[in-house]
Amino acid sequence: MSYLSLIFAPIILSIFIYFFTKQTNNAKYIALALFTFMLYMSINIYMHLPETGYLLLSSFLHVEAFDFNLVLQVDRLSVIMLILTSVLLILVGLSSWSIEKQSAYFSLLIFFCGAIFGVFMSTNLMWFFIFWELTLIPMYFLIGIWGAEGRIYAAVKFFLYTHVASMLILLSFFLIYKQSGTFDMTLIKSGVLTTPALIWWLLFIGFSVKMPLFPFHTWLPDAHVQAPAPISVLLAGVLLKMGAYAMIRMLILILPLQAQKYAWAILLLGLISLLYAGFMALYETHLKKMVAYSSISHMGLVAIGISTLSYDGLSAGVYEMIGHAFIISPLFLIAGFLHHKTGSWQMRDMGGIMQRVPYISAIFVLAGLGALGLPGTMGFIGELSILLSAIGKYGVWLIVILLGSMLSAAYLIWTFRRVIYGEMSEVVKITDFKMPKAEFLSLIIFSIFIILFGIYPQALFDIINQAFSAYATSGGAL
């Protein structure tokens, strides 16, 4: 019951915060306190996890006839996601310190917090879906109200596109229930399913949209570009991770046989996403769109890691998910900051920013180097471990992954040349670059993470590996 409030307290609280912090602008303090508490609770849950398997937190609202039972169970994978989410929420809260209409903004963030905790904590497929869909609502408003010029188009497209995909997911959940008689993902035996292939493909398409993999990615560049910078962080750091998490959780762990059979599809779409988005990023002159494509490219890498279906591949995939969150977020934040100050998205209007704001530029370069996989950053470890496990599984031809790496080096270094160094443009000369302290603090924290886990990845791998230890002992096929 108390764990239930981790989900529902924020959702209910958000409405009160919306109406009662109108005048005082206290919403951000409440939000930050809440997110810190959520981080504390997630770590607390982590401490109590059993060696393998699930920890039952609570069970509520039982409807016998439909197995409509809000079961909260967590294992290591979900707790890792919970911790990542709450860290990101704190940083997002910091980097939105001086945003307009604070009470509404932060109450939506708090609402989102409740919903996303529900996604990672519930093991009942119906409730999983309910929270999965619920995350769309705050995102729709956050993009639609605080976004840039084309925010309305982006918000509606985001909402509709992902909602259609969710319908496929819901249909396959219904098929699972019809065939296995349970909605509980810890109890589903893939053996009793009569149409496992259909279920697998429906789920695969549904989750690919969220992740997003080529060709289902078209909503993401729009949403990313139009969303305010902190919300882009949330999109890249949390929303896309939902797709990857669900893919591991359902496609691999619930339907292992089908996953073996169709892993090529994940690999194929992952590879295409990696390269296609890399080329698109190379072509882009729109700074934030470039970062958005870079984000898609990295999620392609995660998909390749997942597609190996091996212990080290999955671990590497999860590591890359975390790395991607920490690396891509400062890029989004700084791109949004530059747009906010210069009023332009185009790289040609920038240039020479290093001379004006050396610290922020240095963080941009650091995160960029992380994204292209420089040793000593999180990006390197993620790419290397995924490359090794993919070659181990599929053979040497997967060396093409390095092409993606080269592409990212190309577009990022070229971007540094155009935006950070280079000649100072007229626009940059007359702009006053002043960043609020809280936003700068969040950038610093991001860069500390990038370096810390880049130098000492074992700390993270120790936690992630345990998540898949049960998978490893069963020899990859549960």
């Binding site: 609202l61 006839a65 439909f66 309910i130 509709l160």
Partner: protein, 437 residues
Amino acid sequence: MSAFVLLFALAIVSLVIHKLSILKSISIVTLIASSALVLLHFSTPLSGFTSSAAIELFQVLLFTVISAVIISEDEHINITQTLFITAASVLLLESSTLLTFIISFEALSIISFVLVSNIKNAKQAEGAIKMFISGSIATAIIVLGLSMYLLEGHSLNALIDAKMSNFAIVGIWIIMMGLFYKLTIVPMHSWAADTYAQIKPSLAATLSGVVKTVVVVATFKIFSPFILNNITLSMPILALLALVTMTLGNFLALWQKSVGKILSYSSIAHAGYMLLAFVAIQSKYASTALLYMAVAYIFMQTSLFLLLDKLSDGRGDLSLDNLKGLYSKDKFASLIFSIELFSLAGIPLLAGFLGKAILVYAVVDVNLIFLALFTLLNSALSVGYYAWIIKHIYFDKAEGKNKISRVSNTALISQLILLSGTLYFGLFAYNIFEVAF
């Protein structure tokens, strides 16, 4: 039946006292008393009428919604008509033979004609006349079907016979088509879009929210054995009707500029969803699904039309552009409007989601996977226009002078009643799962 007697007596009395200001409070008290009568099973048995747990639950929720309608209603004569409608609804819900069903259905229709005849301008007159004409045609069709059924020597004073000739079966189908006029199933829908959008929205709330759901539930109660007996024929026909109804309703709603029209077409689309329960009648979830959808729908649709009534000051002629910037003018109204729209769209934690989800599950349960897929895609399509209304409320700035009026506090109370229903049934499903038809 005792609830009916109480409500009917009050309706008759209110004809005399409808000028008094206490009519509203008397009506609310009576509705609460009727709910108590239903809940305490204080019923006088009468041949031709039976009740069940599901019907009782639905009646209590119906009385709740009617209370909300009455609280927000300003014109006392409409309160009187609403009471008559409630009484007839109770009768229709409890009727268990073909005779009582047809009679109560006709009573309900005639009272709804009277309800819409409270006309203020030419537009409302057009809506009312369209409804009257189509209603009369529906009655004629029902009588035709009934006569075909009776010609074969079947009795009116019982349920529909299990064994009958093809001629009588056609007769029953014709009766159902007549009923589908009231349920706004395509192609019997065209009156509804105009009527709902052109009459006073508070009356449209009663018609599209209350009357339609009552008729759906009662039709399901009476006709489900017949559909089950003729499943090979009825499944394809009803599946086609359901598919066409929801698709056409959703597509036409996408093009509309007026809020009333969008809500009307969404109401037609929802009739299509509810018809799915008839298609999936072999599933043990069908009756639960229908009841759930009916309960969810009665709360959200009534709420939206009542809110539209208040925002447009009873004229109902708001276009999407008028809604621009509503957010900065009236925060509570925008929030409630958006929540109810999200519920219609089938967004989780709201009653509309569970209603739709269980309906679709019932369809999956009888292995009609493509129908389920099309329903889900339809539902996703409908998000297009619901989210579009919300976009006008929240994302756009108000331009120029707009003609939105403030929502009074009494209206907010009635909205909160309906909102709590939408929220409650979005979270707690067991009340509906444990009752049986």
